[in-house]
């Protein structure tokens, strides 16, 4: 048994969903995503039991490309994130009706396939193929099933596609260059290269362009808010919960180990940009009138902090970043789902038109409240573990970075609670707000249970990840 099994399950799942017809599509998709989750847990078990689950087959001889999938703690953590969020996301769509749902859910599973592949690939070109492949389904999901004005949506989605594709093509050039040096795309070969400082700088920034757009880091974030707003909520969840983690994961997995000298040289600028994103995102979020856009900017602020953690090049920064990636994945999916729950009842995301939900829907209010608190990193939630570790690592680099990065918690608390107040509290709205249905409640409960459990007991995740972080740190420090 090796890691390719989960990819096969997801790919067959996408095909089966497409063939199952509109009526059963969502159920078939859920079934296969649960199978993938089961497979992922078994794989993790095997991995922890010391069984080799990696895979390396030659694929193309000229250029020399292997179908290499490597499973270490970091990859598996991200695969678990994808595998557990996908069923939740699919299940959260049960309350919606999608036209041609077989296409829709097939695309969702296909995207999960591509993202899982990105997290597992250990060969540069294979990784790049999965990376690009993830872009096509989300493009169609946002374009065809999105909401709002069609023309505006089109503009937003095309901008997103061209932007991300443009960034990744420069990464492709960097890979081509690395290939001419190493004669292979394997990560293990690329991290052994002795590149000069200039070469590293160029390669680092070619990678940076791809990742900074995907994550997004200021000033490459302009596509984000519009796309999050216009995409159907399931698409937004996929984007914010998993896809942008692809960028952060790639920073740790590819960018830093391949070009560590450049990362060290430009560290202040990189952390500075990331933290600028934190502050900018928070301030812009304060002024948002659209619930989904507000969450989009809050996401920008949070991932800014994660990126800053990655670029500290310390063990704490990296492991904090990984924890926070997972925590943020769960919490942002929950928050967007809350927005969707409100939209299902009121048909709007405009904060002005909302209010007075608390008195009518007590269950929903309490669950939403917990998610909001998790998002602002209240101690006891998993987000606290992540953000605190990252802030600590920032303080090791420079205390001012930690101070500025810490504003995410203060500002975050401010705009999230203000949003909560405007959306949920206040005068009872004349409109009726039915409390959450059972299936909606299940989604919330799973997400919250996860955040609280690992908030109190983060050891399993930290233990899973820390050996690979150590390995990556030795790769980063190989020039010292």
């Amino acid at each position: 048994m090796n890691v390719s099994l989960i990819l096969i399950i997801l790919l067959i799942g996408a095909l089966a969903t497409f063939l199952s017809g509109d009526k059963f599509a969502s159920k078939v998709a859920l079934l296969f995503s649960l199978a993938a989750l089961g497979c992922a847990s078994v794989l993790v078990n095997h991995f922890l039991g010391g069984i080799d689950i990696s895979l390396n087959n030659p694929w193309i001889l000229q250029p020399n490309v292997s179908f290499a999938l490597k499973a270490d703690g970091l990859s598996l953590a991200m695969v678990l994130l994808t595998a557990s969020l996908t069923p939740i996301i699919i299940f959260s769509g049960f309350g919606n009706h999608f036209e041609k749902s077989k296409n829709f859910y097939a695309l969702v599973l296909f995207m999960a396939f591509a993202m899982t592949g990105t997290f597992l690939a250990a060969d540069g070109l294979l990784y790049y193929i999965f990376w690009e492949l993830a872009l096509i389904p989300i493009y169609f999901i946002a374009l065809v099933w999105g909401n709002g004005d069609a023309e505006e949506r089109k503009k937003a989605v095309v901008k997103f596609f061209i932007y991300t594709l443009g960034g990744s093509l420069f990464m492709l050039v960097a890979f081509a260059y690395l290939y001419t040096k190493a004669g292979s795309f394997l990560l293990t070969d690329l991290t052994k290269l002795n590149l000069s400082a200039t070469e590293q700088t160029w390669i680092f920034f070619a990678f940076f362009l791809a990742y900074a757009i995907k994550i997004p880091i200021i000033p490459f974030h302009t596509w984000q808010a519009k796309v999050y707003q216009k995409a159907p909520t399931i698409g937004t969840m996929l984007l914010s919960g998993i896809m942008l983690k692809m960028g952060l994961y790639s920073v740790i997995r590819w960018q830093l180990p391949i070009a560590p000298l450049a990362a060290k040289t430009y560290m202040p600028i990189l952390i500075g940009l990331s933290i600028a994103g934190v502050i900018y995102g928070s301030i812009v979020a304060l002024r948002q009138k659209d619930l989904k856009k507000l969450l989009a900017y809050s996401s920008l602020a949070h991932v800014g902090l994660i990126a800053a953690g990655c670029y500290t090049l310390t063990a704490d920064g990296l492991s904090g970043a990984v924890s926070q990636m997972i925590a943020h994945g769960f919490v942002i999916v929950g928050l967007f789902f809350a927005a969707e729950v409100i939209f299902r009842r009121f048909g709007t995301y405009k904060i002005d038109e909302l209010g007075g939900i608390r008195t009518q829907a007590s269950k929903f209010t309490s669950m939403f409240m917990i998610l909001v608190l998790a998002s602002v990193a209240l101690p006891g939630t998993f987000n606290f573990v992540g953000e605190f570790t990252v802030l600590y690592s920032l303080s090791q680099v420079n205390i001012w970075f930690a101070v500025l990065g810490g504003t995410t918690i203060i500002l975050g608390a401010y705009y999230m609670l203000k949003m909560f107040q405007n959306v949920m509290l206040g005068e009872t709205n004349t409109k009726v707000f039915a409390d959450v249905t059972t299936s909606e409640a299940i989604v919330f409960v799973i997400l919250i249970a996860f955040l609280l459990f690992y908030g109190l007991y983060p050891k399993p995740i930290v233990d899973l990840v820390s050996p690979s972080i150590k390995e990556i740190l030795t790769q980063i420090n190989r020039f010292n």
Binding site: I60, E132, L135, L143, V144, K154, V158, L165, L172, Y177
Partner: protein, 458 residues
């Protein structure tokens, strides 16, 4: 060699088929014949027979066999679509099909020549067939214009090529390619040689529509009947490129730095001008014409590492031509009763005909160079090889152009998936589905296993 004879015989058969009243069965018979020829060519390839015939006029090596197979494959697709396209002109179908087969004969001659006179014969056979086809919609004024324009410009280019051949003959006193290769290896050559090569290159750049010799392409592509446009933009372009590559490789031009610089400039210009002009087009055929110009720029990159880029060129041409055929199968089926090829004709195709919309989407994604489609590896191999040859600038220009190209490819995709359909759903003949699905299926197959193609020339 047998390939060429078999193709010519098939062409003659198509002409006289009319006498035996075989019109209805003509297309299937021709396809079967072409499949047989494809099989025998592949056989010749596999036994690696190096045959040199007719006083060394023709020399069929691996390069010739591999490219001939591609041309035959493309012709099969084009002939398959002929039946429906010419169903209103039943009396002329044998002529049209025969012309296509003769065009193929010219194409095969253009990659298997061993003598410059044979090369020129190939060009003329191919070009004359195309002139006729371009003007074949007699009552359509645009088609007439296209035929005339293509003929005037094309014969001008042929003149250049012929003059170039003469100058090369004047330098070395021979038309034989092997001898020319030998002599041109010498250090001191008469100035006539470089002039001759330049003239031939200009003529061929005209045929592949590279900037600044591209002005005819958009008008001719737009005016010519769609099936002919498909022929020109896939088959003819690929043929011209394969023979230009073969010629330049035989001329020992490298490493002349001036020549390389010129190629760099033309390559970058073709990519950029083609893409930027394509952004502004509303007519799909014009858009594909400009996209073809930019692809010519990409293919020119192979000339920069001419010693070992033949495999990459073959792969690129395969990827480009298969995607092009699939795209044109959809374009022809959608626009055949519309009288124009405006983007708006594709509105809502995703709803009215999801399969065709999917085929067109995939072929456009392949042209844009998105992975799992062959277009990705085609571009990637080019980029890697060009970086190895030391031309990072061209690669960066290529990358930027890949991004620009997404802009107009997606205009079509957006029209298909976000606009409301204007017309009622219309029945599409089976053959377009077959051609589109098979072509894009082959494209994906070689995208997943690129080695199948790129190793052919090892």
């Amino acid at each position: 060699m047998n390939t060429l004879i078999a193709i010519s015989a098939l062409g003659v058969f198509c002409l006289i088929a009319e006498i035996f009243n075989l019109r209805k069965a003509l297309v299937p018979i021709t396809i079967l014949g072409l499949l047989g020829i494809l099989g025998s060519t592949l056989h010749l390839y596999s036994i690696a027979e190096l045959s040199s015939d007719y006083n060394n006029m023709i020399f069929a090596d691996k390069y010739a066999d591999a490219f001939s197979s591609l041309f035959i494959l493309l012709t099969i697709f084009l002939v398959a679509m002929s039946h429906d396209v010419y169903k209103e002109h039943q009396t002329k179908i044998s002529d049209y099909v025969a012309i296509k087969v003769f065009l193929l004969a010219g194409a095969v001659a253009m990659v298997s020549f061993a003598n410059l006179s044979m090369y020129f014969l190939g060009i003329e056979t191919l070009s004359i067939a195309l002139y006729i086809l371009a003007g074949s919609s007699r009552l359509n004024i645009k088609s007439n214009e296209a035929g005339m324009k293509y003929f005037l410009m094309g014969s001008f280019a042929s003149g250049f090529i012929l003059f170039g051949i003469c100058l090369i003959y004047g330098t070395f006193g021979t038309f034989d390619l092997k001898e020319i290769t030998e002599f041109s290896g010498a250090l001191d050559k008469a100035v006539w040689f470089s002039i001759g090569v330049s003239l031939i290159t200009i003529g061929m750049l005209f045929k592949i529509a590279a900037v600044p010799f591209h002005f005819w392409a958009p008008d001719v592509y737009e005016g010519a009947p769609s099936l002919v446009t498909a022929t020109m933009s896939t088959l003819a372009k690929v043929v011209a490129f394969a023979s230009l590559y073969k010629l330049l490789a035989a001329m020992n031009l490298f490493p002349t730095i001036q020549f390389q610089n010129i190629i760099v400039v033309i390559s970058i210009l073709s990519m950029t001008v083609g893409n930027i002009m394509a952004l502004r087009q509303q007519n799909v055929k014009r858009m594909l014409a400009f996209s073809g110009i930019s692809h010519a720029g990409f293919m020119l990159m192979t000339v920069l590492s001419i010693a070992n880029a033949a495999g990459n060129l073959l792969y690129y041409t395969f990827a480009y031509a298969l995607a092009g055929i699939a795209a044109f199968a959809v374009v022809i089926s959608v626009t055949k009763d519309k009288g124009n090829e405006d983007v708006t004709n594709f509105n809502g195709l995703g709803k009215t005909n999801p399969l065709m919309a999917a085929v067109l989407t995939m072929s456009l994604l392949s042209m844009a160079g998105i992975p799992i489609f062959a277009g990705f590896f085609a571009k990637f191999n080019l980029f890697t090889q060009t970086i190895q040859a030391g031309y990072l600038v061209v690669v960066i220009a290529g990358v930027i152009n890949s991004i620009i190209s997404v802009g107009y490819y997606f205009k079509l995709i957006l029209a298909m998936y976000t606009k409301e359909p204007a017309a009622e759903k219309q029945a599409t003949p089976f053959v377009y589905y077959a051609v589109g699905v098979v072509a894009i299926g082959l494209n994906i197959a070689i995208g997943l296993y690129p080695t199948v193609i790129s190793n052919l020339l090892k």
